[in-house]
Subunit: 111 residues, 2 copies
DNA sequence: CGTGTAAGGAATTCTGACACG
DNA sequence: CGTGTAAGGAATTCTGACACG
């Protein structure tokens, strides 16, 4: 049992696909990482790998920047909402996520 | 409203990651495609893109082959179970999948 | 500050073929 | 039949820098 086996949080997506999914440029995506707003995994060779959750976060970041919020402010917001996380609530959400991943859609082979 | 917006069915994963996720070789993964058991998308440049559902299907395929079932037989099984699909049931599952994708885990920004 | 771009290199993936059996 | 491998090429991604402002 891993700490997170949900599809949504598995880092498996290349930057090229993230570009398509978000409409952002690769330059923007890498810059937001430089500003510590997003944290992709890396392959042994150095290629970035993102999750669907990362993709959604990137869209939210881009929206705020369009509204004139600076990356430094966005980072502070994210740190604040992190601290608000109640441990028990986090646990509940993770379990719910796993249930959705296992039983939310498919029933069995080819179904 | 697309016909499928679930994370599970979005084709966004490179063959290298599929190799890691399944433990199969790239040769095997490509061969199962040649035998019409799996149908990745392609980027404009020709790179294969798989979904999480594809990854799970690949594991099932590999298990059957280990059991001595030939690709041709596996293909027939898949075609049979496809026909069993009731249209109303498919519709229900797709809606459920969309609900899970939107409300099953996250509540809002950074939560 | 946030983003575009050209540059050069490295990692990744592709196809078709030969091999074994 | 299913899979490994070496071969050569093409697509993809990487970093650091210059530019604008």
């Amino acid at each position: 049992m891993e700490s997170d086996s949900s599809y949504k949080n598995k880092k498996v997506i290349n930057i090229g696909i993230v570009r398509e999914l978000t409409g952002l440029s690769e330059r923007q995506i890498r810059y937001y990482e430089e500003r510590k707003l997003i944290f992709p995994d890396r392959t042994p060779g150095g290629s970035r790998k993102y999750s669907f959750a990362d993709v959604e976060l990137l869209v939210e970041i881009a929206n705020k920047i369009e509204d004139g919020v600076q990356t430094h402010e966005i980072r502070k917001e994210m740190l604040r909402s992190q601290k608000k996380q109640n441990p028990e609530e986090i646990r509940r959400k993770m379990i719910q996520g796993q249930l959705n991943a296992q039983f939310g859609f498919r029933k069995g082979p080819y179904s």
